[in-house]
Subunit: 73 residues, 2 copies
DNA sequence: ATGTGACTTTAAGTCCGTG
DNA sequence: TCACGGACTTAAAGTCACA
């Protein structure tokens, strides 16, 4: 898993925060108002998420959008 | 102009950094490998930019992606 | 040098399912 | 509970002419 692209790094960050909250992908999907398969894809780094969904995910995770980009560049 | 949505805030941040570099939208577009009018749309907050283009823009501006989200939630 | 509406092509995002 | 696929629908990507 080459995690050196923005989609993978974003997905890994989402997964890490979600697991730290102790919730499932389905629960996060519900909190975001997004589809469960979409969250799965995002965490695996296969989706090119756009701004409004980044905001929804950040809100659902209780962080600010920039926290989802807090990986070593 | 509700600047309290993520597209507008992202666009404003891009514009601020671009202007601090003293370059035009056309020059930024060239550095990004994106279209001039697309950059214009982004800065005005009318485009729902996705991860890969966020990465291109950050690279062109010489910042990390999270710097483009450095606004108060 | 930039804003904007219109447009076509591509990919985002949904929803059905399976092991 | 999640990865993954197929088949969709909607929206983003990308381009243009003109103000």
């Amino acid at each position: 898993m080459a995690a050196n692209n923005i989609k993978s790094m974003f997905g890994n960050t989402v997964r890490t925060i979600r697991l730290s909250m102790g919730i499932s992908q389905e629960e996060l999907a519900f909190l975001c108002g997004l589809h469960r398969t979409y969250i799965s894809d995002i965490e695996r780094g296969t989706r090119n998420v756009s701004l409004e969904n980044i905001a929804k995910i950040a809100r659902a995770l209780g962080v600010s959008p920039k926290d989802l980009f807090d990986f070593p560049n």
